[in-house]
């Protein structure tokens, strides 16, 4: 009886094995020829996929294409544009368009769509600042003329970042169901879960190898777990998972200007009544405090300790980009020099409580960080611990972005920036952007720096502008880097880490801007299986 039962179980197992094993084999074969990808790289936009509302500023807009793009060496090359010229006074930009471009609904893309896109963007109160543009006109079907209010060398970046939307199909729900001339067509978006896209058959550029891509929106832990389970082809992961390899996947650590740093309010507290929110901080308004923090911080240790080595020390908002001034690099981690700076600035511990004082002010200030961000939290804790022996007390507090918005003019904040557009540097240090959005939240003002940056903006060419950007950082006398006024303590640039399936090639990546995940898709047309796999 018992024997019979054992035989039955055995037979059943064999039958199941026969049914299941061919399935595995079929799946293995399908994998080799698969032209679909599943990515867990986060970067879901809150506001949807409308470029006139800021979509596609970092990485590729995917569904739309732009007039220009940057190649691997960060040089501007044509995309939708065939050519462009700038008038000698820098006020008129004329762009001629390709004539063979179709939207994914087969309607040709013309100058009318470009004009519509820029006029809509100008009117929308989005993160894209187009206030420099006076007018945009279609000269003929394939020529567009932009007229500026004042010369601006960084205008080319706006033309590089803004995806062109179709005038005939740009309705109220466009951001939820985008349509454009980019390499991929929108299929489905389940908010908070996934985005499915398909290759655009009418795309004018190099056709992407992959026909269908699914973006899963997972938390960092879930993305890592999915990678371990072999369910995704690429997963964006945080540094702490990097030391745990996943079989069948390789680790890609990509350089970025995705930086983290401490923004200091640079003015003394004002009399109440002039602003809705408090402005100024009597401790961080003292340049000695800001310099001491900058000097004391050991950036290399932060990279190794907090980022597990996946990063690099940061000294400005634009390290390693063409407009970065290498003279801004400092010899940090130097506590004794920091003490000298504090002593020279008049800070002394007169009451013996371990915290320095200057007249009646204690060297103690609040450092805010967004509470969900583990890396910023770790950086804040580490910096606070690091400067304690100097007699500077940094109290840290995790807050929501809404709270930070109201507090950031009066307290230090651990921000993150990093853009391929020098306009960001202009916005961070310029007196015009004081208290606007998250820019220049510390009300930093240096007329000399302002002057250099205005000159950079007014330069005829990008290269000429770069020299002025560098001078704004440090000209030998003053600047907005540590050697000058030190309005920020930049800490680290974060390498973006991805687990990528071993035989998947993601092309040559350029330096990534702020935002972990989406910038990876910038060259998505180049992605393919590595040759050995392709032939299989």
């Amino acid at each position: 009886m018992n024997m019979l039962r054992q035989i039955r179980v055995l037979v059943l197992m064999i039958v199941i094995a026969c049914l299941v094993l061919p399935g595995f084999q079929a799946e293995g074969m399908a994998l080799a020829q698969r032209d679909e990808l599943i990515l867990a790289i986060s970067g879901e936009p809150d506001g949807g996929f409308d470029p006139t509302n800021g979509w596609g500023r970092y990485g590729s807009p995917l569904f739309q294409s732009t007039l220009f793009k940057r190649d691997r060496t960060m040089t501007i090359v044509n995309d939708l544009a065939r050519d462009y010229s700038v008038s000698p006074d820098g006020l008129t930009w004329t762009v001629t368009l390709r004539q063979d471009v179709l939207f994914s609904d087969k309607v040709p893309l013309t100058a009318v769509d470009v004009v519509y896109t820029y006029e809509t963007t100008l009117k929308s109160s989005s993160v894209v600042d187009l206030s420099v543009m006076k007018s945009v006109k279609a000269m003929d079907d394939h020529t567009v003329k932009f007229v500026l209010n004042y010369p601006q060398s960084t205008f080319i970046n706006i033309l590089t970042n803004t995806g062109i939307v179709p005038k005939h199909a740009h309705g109220a729900d466009y951001s939820q169901r985008p349509l454009g001339s980019g390499p991929f067509v929108f299929i489905q978006w389940d908010k908070g879960q996934q985005l499915i896209v398909q290759a655009n058959p009418y795309y004018y550029g190099e056709k992407p190898f992959f026909k269908k891509i699914t973006f899963l929106y997972l938390t960092e832990e879930a993305a890592y777990a999915a990678a371990r389970a072999g369910q995704v082809d690429i997963a964006a992961i945080i540094p702490m998972f990097a030391s745990h390899p996943v079989s069948g996947m390789r680790l890609e650590a990509i350089d970025s200007v995705d930086n983290r740093g401490i923004m200091f309010p640079c003015v003394l507290p004002e009399a109440t009544g002039t602003h809705d929110t408090p402005v100024g901080n009597s401790v961080t308004a003292d340049v000695a405090i800001r310099k001491a923090v900058n000097l004391a911080v050991d950036r290399k240790a932060l990279v190794d300790g907090v980022l597990n080595g996946y990063g690099s020390p940061a000294y400005t908002a634009c390290d390693t980009l063409p407009w970065w001034n290498p003279d801004t690099v400092i010899d940090d981690g130097n506590l004794s020099q920091a003490r000298d700076v504090l002593a020279a600035g008049g800070w002394k511990d007169t009451d013996g409580d371990g915290i320095l004082e200057k007249s009646v002010v204690d060297a103690s200030f609040l450092l805010l960080y967004p509470s969900g961000d583990q890396i910023r939290q770790s950086l804040a804790i580490a910096v606070s611990d690091r400067v304690k022996p100097l007699g500077i007390e940094i109290r840290i507090e995790g807050k929501s972005w809404d709270d930070i918005r109201t507090l950031m003019h009066a307290h230090a904040v651990l921000f993150g920036w990093g853009s391929h557009d020098p306009l960001e540097m202009y916005n961070l240090y310029n007196s015009k952007t004081m208290g606007r959005d998250y820019y220049n939240a510390g009300y930093y003002l240096n007329p000399q720096v302002n002057g250099y940056m205005e000159k950079a903006m007014g330069s005829a060419s990008e290269k000429e502008a770069w020299e002025y950007w560098k001078k704004a950082q440090w000209d030998g006398q003053t600047g907005c880097s540590f050697k000058g006024d030190a309005p920020w303590a930049w800490l680290v640039n974060i390498k973006h880490i991805y687990l990528v399936r071993d035989d998947l090639s993601i092309g040559a990546q350029k330096i990534h801007p702020h935002g972990h995940g989406w910038p990876l898709t910038d060259n998505i047309e180049e992605w393919c299986w590595k040759p050995a796999r392709k032939g299989a």
């Binding site: 960092e220 832990e221 890592y224 777990a225 371990r228 702490m240 998972f241 030391s243 745990h244 240790a301 190794d304 300790g305 907090v306 509470s371 969900g372 583990q374 939290q377 770790s378 804040a380 804790i381 580490a382 611990d385 690091r386 304690k388 840290i396 507090e397 995790g398 807050k399 709270d403």
Partner: protein, 290 residues
């Protein structure tokens, strides 16, 4: 004989000390639980803050004699963090449960002594609060208060009084119909006098036990709403914070980040529960003489 004795024991472990009577056993257990709580609080207060500073050279260490509970990703000693976290939690729990019991006391007394209208109003309030799930109300209140310790304390205090209010109301009603209250009433004493002088003293055990039994609730709720991100700031050494951040590291095999703090929370909560439970036994007239 022996087996029946064990069966009546509150805890079988006490069978090893058969010479003690039930009351002594209860007292001993309470003392042991109090020592556990006391040691944790003392550790939280006395341990050096330097142990929870960042030490990049001691990151992600597994438990050892040097670091009993291991270290986290910033090289902070997890034992110190746990002890300090539990101390913060105990403090918050104490204030919150005290506030909760005081509310219950006032409302229970009022509803039983101030007439029908007040009674039905209080009963309505109790039903209202019991109708909403604890945690939801707690999250709402903590969120409106802007998070932080204040939000948690107010949240726990505002959500934990209803069941105790019912209990106290029933108790007061019972006392109100006892003879000495009738006598006092006939002698012309005011309602307030009766409430304060005749009824209140009878409620002392409820008050004390109420605090102790609400306390574990308060700690667990503090931990859970902080875990969910509505409570204390993530860098504060609170037990909910520790447990919540440890979830991130479980996938990398750092089990000690969740295991020991979780276990400590369990031990503390159970200890408080034991103290409260036994105190009730000792003070409750029905079981005090067992």
């Amino acid at each position: 004989m022996n087996t029946s004795l064990t069966a009546r024991m509150p805890y079988p472990v006490m069978a090893f000390i058969p010479t003690l009577n039930r009351r002594q056993q209860t007292l001993l257990l309470m003392a042991m639980a109090a020592v556990v709580v006391g040691v944790m609080i003392a550790a939280g207060i006395l341990l050096d803050n330097d142990r929870i500073a960042t030490h990049f050279d001691q990151r992600n260490l597994a438990p050892s004699w040097n670091h009993l509970f291991g270290t986290d990703w910033l090289g902070r000693d997890m034992f110190t963090r746990t002890a300090k976290g539990l101390t913060v939690s105990i403090g918050i729990g104490m204030i919150a449960s005290l506030a909760s019991v005081v509310i219950a006391m006032i409302l229970g007394l009022a509803s039983a002594t101030l007439g029908k209208t007040v009674d039905s109003a209080v009963s309505w309030l109790v039903d209202l609060f019991l109708g909403v799930p604890h945690l939801v109300a707690l999250i709402l209140i903590a969120f409106v208060m802007g998070g932080g310790a204040k939000g948690v304390i107010v949240g726990v205090a505002c959500t934990h009084w209803p069941s105790l209010t019912r209990l106290i109301r029933a108790e007061v009603l019972q006392i109100r119909f006892s003879e000495y209250v009738h006598v006092s009433k006939h002698m012309g004493r005011s309602r307030v006098f009766i409430a304060v002088r005749h009824v209140m003293p009878h409620l002392a055990p409820q008050f004390l036990v109420g605090i102790l039994l609400l306390f574990p609730h308060a700690i667990l709720h503090e931990a859970s709403i902080t875990f969910l991100g509505f409570g204390l700031s993530p860098h504060q050494p609170a037990i909910g914070v520790i447990l919540s951040e440890s979830m991130k590291y479980l996938a990398t095999g750092m089990w000690w980040l969740a295991f020991f703090p979780g276990l400590s929370l369990l031990v503390i909560v159970r200890s408080m529960d034991i103290i409260g439970d036994h105190l009730r036994q000792l003070t409750d007239p029905h079981s005090a003489h067992e």
